[in-house]
């Protein structure tokens, strides 16, 4: 008897059969993610109910039944949202009380901001070497454009407002708080006791009190500290305080990064004959800052959101403009939710992009993987 009688010989491979229909494709996905168990089914039903209750009325309110034209609030029917103010008042939301005939200067400053930011944020842009110089010169350029001088008419900072005020206060705070924060973090880890004590005291006191008390300091106390004949502009005082506030938080984030650097790196830098500042500049900080990027960006986001606090001390940023319009006789009671939604979306778009950018940067700088 031949061996052949006992096993079947398969001359060619069997064709691959598709997996069971319930585990692949749309159906499989639905089953795994939405209906895998009784609880899951209930959760799905609840979620669908929430969406059905919330989304269609929102869309009807915001778009279908909304009014888009009109001169005063009463021109809106009041069923849906009243977006008529957008057309009328968008200038105030963007420029505050900046003189209308000079708004082109703000526009130029905003347009120039794009390349100035791009050269910091993205690598591999054409002309990167000169771009960095442009970025460095940008604050001066923007200052002249916004405030006047060199033949341009002067505009007081009390005319700043809206979107523009948030961006100016936020960017100035961001640009200044990083270097101050680095110095404070180094000071806190310094071997010199006096430097360490001063840094720790500064950081802990600032972190222990709310920003609003510091803004009160800026408004009512800073003037007392200065010689009687010196007056500081209100916006400058506020920006100093916002910067000091953010730099204390920044210092703690960077200290975390510094602590993550192995001792061997410090020792290697010393062995190479580098002095303290050289070691920091070339060895330690590049690594420490990389580690602390997520924290730094989070601090930036917090700082940007905190710029709304200026309304408490009587300046009118974008939220302040929303409040102004909400209590304006022409619009009272008509645009409450619309203006809040507009301001909220403005912050959401900027802050959310910042956090996504930081996640991207984190992945790009993560040299340990790959």
């Amino acid at each position: 008897m031949s061996v052949r009688a006992f096993h079947r010989l398969q001359a060619e491979l069997l064709p691959q059969r598709p997996p069971p229909a319930s585990t692949v494709g749309l159906f499989g996905w639905l089953r795994a993610n939405l209906f895998s168990s009784g609880l899951n089914l209930a959760l799905t039903a609840a979620s669908v109910a929430v969406l059905a209750l919330a989304l269609p009325p929102f869309f009807r309110w915001a778009f279908l039944e909304a009014d888009f034209s009109g001169v005063v609030g009463n021109d809106c029917a009041g069923v849906g949202a009243c977006w008529a103010w957008l057309d009328q008042r968008i200038g105030q939301f963007i420029y505050g009380f900046y003189p209308a005939e000079l708004r082109w200067r703000v526009n130029i400053a905003l347009v120039l901001l794009a390349p100035a930011l791009a050269y910091v944020l993205f690598e591999r842009l054409p002309g990167a070497r000169y771009g960095r110089w442009f970025t460095a010169a940008y604050p001066l350029l923007a200052g002249v454009l916004l405030l006047g001088g060199f033949g341009l008419d002067g505009v007081g900072t009390d005319k700043f407002g809206g979107f523009m005020l948030n961006v100016i206060a936020g960017l100035a705070g961001i640009a200044l708080s990083l270097p101050v924060g680095i110095l404070l973090a180094l000071g806190r880890r310094s071997r010199l006791p006096a430097v360490r004590v001063v840094s720790v005291a500064f950081i802990e006191v600032i972190r222990g009190v709310p920003l609003i008390t510091l803004l009160f300091v800026a408004i009512v106390i800073l003037q007392l500290f200065l010689p009687p004949d010196v007056t500081l502009d209100q916006l400058t005082r506020v920006m100093i305080m916002i910067t000091l506030f953010a730099s204390a938080y920044m210092a703690e984030v960077i200290r975390g990064g510094l602590q993550a650097i192995p001792k061997g790196q410090y020792e290697a830098a010393q062995a190479m004959g580098l002095g303290y500042w050289q070691a920091m500049r070339f060895i330690i900080l590049p690594q420490a800052l990389k580690v602390s990027i997520p924290g730094i960006v989070n601090t930036f986001i917090g700082l940007f959101k905190d710029t709304t606090l200026v309304i408490i001390i009587g300046m009118f940023d974008i939220l302040g403009q929303a409040r102004l319009l909400q209590t304006h006789p022409d619009w009272i009671g008509k645009v409450d939710h619309e203006t809040f939604l507009f301001a909220a979306l403005f912050f959401f778009v900027i802050c959310f992009s910042m956090s996504r950018y930081s996640m991207k940067l984190e992945r790009r700088l993560d040299t340990t993987r790959r």
């Binding site: 709310p210 609003i212 009160f216 009687p228 959101k305 408490i312 939220l319």
Partner: protein, 395 residues
Amino acid sequence: MPSVEPDRSNTLRLSRLWTDERARGVLWQILLVLGLILLAAVVVSNTATNLQRAGLASGFGFLFDTASFDINQRLIHYQSTSTYGRAFIVGGLNTIVVAVLGIAAATVIGFLAGVSRLSRNFLVSRIVGAWVEFTRNVPLLLQIIFWWVVILALPKVRQSLAFADAVYLNNRGVRMPWPVFGDGATLVLAALLAGVVAAFAVARWARARQQRTGRTFPSGWCALALIAGATLAAWFAAGQPVTFDAPVMGRFNLRGGFNVTPELVALWMALSTYTGAFIAEIVRAGILSVSRGQVEAAGALGLRRGLTTRKIILPQALRVIVPPLTSQYLNLTKNSSLAVAIGYQDIVSIGDTVLNQSGQALEVISIYMAFYLTLSLLTSAFMNWYNASIALVER
């Protein structure tokens, strides 16, 4: 024989001092301290001159002057003839009230949202994720004012939204039943306390027995029975001394009950959802930090899902969660100062009024700072203690 130069390395030479690291360090520190002293001297002299010019007296004596303004939410006795000092105490207590309420609600919201964001249900995790991202990325001040405007737009008192004829929601806030403690109420409270103590004792005994013999004991149900049983027994024994004063709709107004001001409701809503969204991210990161192997090992040991969460995942996740949770609690407490924007009378808001009336800017701001620094120190001390109690005990 070549002559040997005398060794001078130990002798003091000024030109060498600059190259000596320690000497340079001392020099920098002296310069720093001198600079700070100089700055302080300039600031003090400027302030003295400025105060003199404005004709302001300095010092905390004003705290004993009559405040002559009203405070609508007060935990202790206060009237407009009370002193500024008392007004500050009332304001401080109001800050603590909203901070405690906010911390409790934010923790619950944060844990629920953090867990839901990890849900295997696609819709749940996405909806919660969208909510978390939106709430985190919109300024808190905007959210506070938004909730306040929403509450002020609620129906008037006569058209209050009623829930079970007990809780009324209107544009003056929330009015709800409030316990009234009659004679013998202390007995009920004592019984409640005794129940809690007994429950802890039973849980302790049950844990020890389980360690010894492996036999489990339903200490959770037992605790519930002890606490509820003791309280109810005392309540009936003392002749039902604790009653609830429920609000009643009168002709023009709601009477009775306890009214929570719209400011407190708005501030509480905004603070707890905003901080809750941050806590959700912390909780999510904490749970994700527990490695998958732990869950699989628990499964291999035959633990059910609930037990795995309670005994395996949570204790390990908490170690990651607690330190950032502390800073969120501190943030919430500090953020409660935004109350001034909607007129909730916390310490900042009251201090602002005092400042406008008395002009004592330096003193008011130092009271602010002292108050918040103390709160921060207390909160972080407590959380450090808690963190130490759940930390991994290593060899």
